[in-house]
């Protein structure tokens, strides 16, 4: 209640025909425990205030007491849909600090895993978007296809979601003998299913009417708010870390950075759909060429980073993920900061929803693709 009063008192007063609605923490479309204080006039959204922190887990504080391999396993739990990329960010950061060069095999496998989890994440995003829009069937089609990727993860990494596959200096295990065959099967299968996604949702007149021209986020706003990932690229913000500061095997593959200048919900949707095609093409380029070699560099039992500051950026499915380690030479970091993409993306929401309807708020939020533990950390 106090916050509601605060809004009434501090910001401009509620007019007679305006009212406040709490969306969340338990609401079907917030995808977790996010609460938004929505100021409405009839169906029209005037203003929203996101309130986060319902599942704040203090990961940054916990990391100050953990060793680097242990930190990696915690990053699974932030953006659980991009677990591989989060793992990789910390692993790369530690490797850069220790100046360890990992074998090519590791780079290739890491890139393949990144793209697989990007695909899995985008699939889940697609089906959840459909569900938020009221097309419930998309949910099951998306999950059906995602299941194949999760099976690949389970076979090679031993877990489906919290994989913890990267370690400083390499990988936890070598790939499973079936890995390449399964990935190839998946690529073949998913190439036939992606057009169905288009037929079911992208082409649908109701869907296009509902998303086109909704939720405008201009380029300057996107940069100012730090909106990255597919959401930022749909505003014309060229922010793909894979292109600008390539890591792992990304310098070796050819792919396009999908940029859309329409800045609306439909653009954010189409950027992600096109990114799925790009991910498939990256997988096709890499999967047959995994070089032979070691799957991990032999590292010391207790990793101690040299004194200094180390930053590593990677591109997760939601945008730019950063790890900032300040080390004082001990086995655990002095301060560790995660720059999570969802955090910046969420707060751009307010500038996008003004004047739209409640249903648009749900659609816009869906195309931002928020994962709440990523925001709360």
């Amino acid at each position: 209640m106090s916050e509601i009063r605060e809004v009434i008192i501090n910001t401009d007063r509620l007019r007679t025909d305006e009212y406040l609605v709490n969306m969340g923490p338990q609401h079907p479309s917030t995808h977790g425990v996010l609460r938004m204080l929505v100021r409405l006039e009839g169906e029209k959204v005037l203003n929203i205030q996101p309130h986060v922190g319902y599942i704040h887990s203090g990961i940054e504080k916990m990391c100050e007491a953990l060793t680097y391999p242990q930190i990696i396993h915690l990053t699974d739990r932030m953006d659980y849909l991009s677990a591989h990329m989060n793992n990789e960010a910390v692993a790369l950061c530690v490797e850069n600090a220790l100046q360890v060069e990992v074998p090519d095999r590791v780079k290739y496998i890491r890139t393949i895993m990144d793209e697989l989890s990007r695909l899995a994440s985008h699939q889940l995003w697609w089906c959840v978007l459909g569900m938020d829009m009221g097309a419930l069937t998309t949910f099951f089609y998306g999950l059906r296809d995602r299941e194949m990727i999760l099976d690949i993860f389970e076979e090679t990494c031993g877990a489906r979601l919290t994989v913890n596959y990267n370690t400083p200096g390499g990988l936890m295990f070598d790939i499973h003998p079936n890995f390449q065959k399964r990935v190839k099967d998946f690529i073949k299968y998913f190439r036939t299913k992606l057009p169905e996604y288009d037929q079911l949702l992208s082409g649908n007149v109701i869907f296009r009417e509902r998303t086109g021209g909704i939720g405008h986020l201009s380029l300057s706003d996107a940069i100012d708010y730090g909106v990255t990932g597919p959401s930022g690229r749909a505003s014309g913000f060229s922010c793909d870390v894979r292109k600008h500061q390539p890591y792992s095997a990304y310098p070796l593959v050819k792919f396009n950075e999908i940029i859309d200048l329409r800045c609306d919900t439909l653009a954010r949707y189409e950027v992600r759909i096109k990114e799925m095609y790009e991910s498939l093409s990256i997988l096709e380029q890499l999967i047959d060429n995994i070089p032979e070699g070691e799957y991990a560099v032999k590292m010391r039992g207790v990793l101690k980073l040299p004194e200094g500051e180390f930053y590593q950026r990677v591109e997760t499915a939601r945008g730019e993920f950063g790890v900032f380690i300040i080390s004082d030479g001990k086995k655990n970091p002095y301060r560790l900061k995660f720059r999570s993409p969802g955090f910046s993306n969420l707060f751009a929401l307010n500038s996008m929803v003004k004047g739209h309807k409640i249903a648009d708020l749900v659609a816009i939020m869906s195309t931002l693709d928020l994962v709440i533990p990523d925001i709360d950390r």
Binding site: M133, L136, R144, N204, I206, D360
Partner: protein, 362 residues
């Protein structure tokens, strides 16, 4: 008492005569009311359960799932178990709810559905109300239900419920127009508002075939508007669960929620039943001009079976809509009605009048 699957007229007539012989006319009428009322209640409850089960299985099949499989063979008893669960649940009322309106709302919704169901002819002789203004009556009572929805949303003391109810009000009031106009098109064609006459007029060919283009347009408009009027499918704005959690029935639990739930499925049945009666020949078998042997085989299937086969066909199409399309936004739903369906409908009535005047039909 002769029992005949092909024509219930004698059967119902015999009951009527038998009751009048044994009791005074007043008592006989009362007993008839009770029998009819009970049979409708039973029918609605059982058919509602069946429809819920069918919806789950159909939606599961669309989504490559199996649907309920645990309770009973193929999960057949699942909805009964759910119904028992709903009966046993606690009835919770929000603290500042308007008690009287809150309690009465589910009944208004379900009574409106019962009123509407009474004019639908299931088979020859199996129709409780056969007005000469049947179509008019149907359009009138089917719009009463929205009052219950509005009351439910208003009295719940919940903003989500209120938004849902207001959406539903705007939606049903507009789509009522399209439903009535598309029915009116067929009334122009049939030349009667009485359901039995309308069905009788389709003995040789169903209206959707004999009325060709305008009838098909009217059918499509009717199915779309009917879907919207039952708050289903892509038009389920009133209970859009990703936006409004559960819309107007957010605060209802237990049997009161079950009433809303049941009413939704009865409405689905009514819309399909009316579509069947007016466009698809009601309980009339499928006849093709001069194919005598084919027509004879079709006659062999009892009219009740014909009626329910067609009803399930229409219900399946409406379910197909629901499980395929994304939901519309509230302004788009009104755009669809006022800028698309209504002009099409008006033009269609003119076209139908022309067709009738020029006798350019089969």
């Amino acid at each position: 008492m002769a029992f005949n699957f092909y024509d219930f007229t004698n059967f119902t007539h015999n009951i009527h005569v038998g009751l009048n012989e044994s009791f005074s006319p007043f008592a006989a009428t009362t007993i008839e009311w009770l029998i009819v009322g009970t049979s409708y209640l039973l029918f609605v409850a059982l058919f509602g359960l069946l429809l819920v089960y069918a919806e789950r299985k159909v939606c599961a099949a669309f989504q490559q799932r199996l649907g309920p499989m645990r309770v009973g063979p193929w999960g057949l008893l699942q909805t009964i178990a759910d119904f028992i669960k709903l009966l046993m649940k606690e009835l919770i009322m929000p603290r500042k709810a308007d008690k009287f309106l809150y309690n009465i709302a589910p009944f208004i919704v379900i009574i409106a559905s019962f009123l509407a169901i009474s004019v639908i002819p299931f088979a020859p002789g199996l129709q409780s109300l056969d007005f000469d203004i049947g179509v008019f009556y149907l359009t009138a009572v089917s719009s009463v239900g929205v009052i219950g929805i509005l009351l439910a949303g208003w009295s719940s003391n919940n903003k989500y419920s209120l938004i849902g109810a207001m959406r539903s009000g705007a939606q049903i009031l507009s789509y009522e127009l399209s439903v009535s106009l598309s029915l009116l098109t067929m009334v122009v064609f049939a030349g009667s508002m009485q359901f039995s006459t309308i069905v009788e007029g389709q003995r040789d060919a169903w209206f959707i075939f004999s009325g060709h283009i305008p009838a098909i347009i009217a059918f499509i408009v009717f199915v779309v508007a009917g879907t919207a009027e039952t708050n289903r499918g892509p038009f389920d704005l009133a209970e859009a669960e990703s936006e409004l959690t559960a819309g107007f029935h957010t605060e209802y639990s237990g049997i009161k929620f079950a009433f809303f739930f049941l009413a939704e499925y009865i409405n689905l049945f009514i819309i399909s039943g009316v579509a069947t009666t007016v466009f698809l020949g009601g309980w009339m078998p499928l006849h093709f001009g001069n194919f005598e042997s084919f027509n004879h085989v079709m006659d062999f299937i009892p009219p009740v079976v014909w009626f329910f086969m067609k009803v399930f066909g229409v219900i399946f199409i409406i379910m197909w809509f629901k499980w395929t399309f994304p939901r519309l936004r509230v302004d788009q739903i009104l755009t669809l009605e006022w800028k698309y369906l209504l002009p099409i409908n008006l033009a269609n009535i003119l076209l139908m009048a022309l067709v009738v005047l020029t006798k350019f039909h089969f």
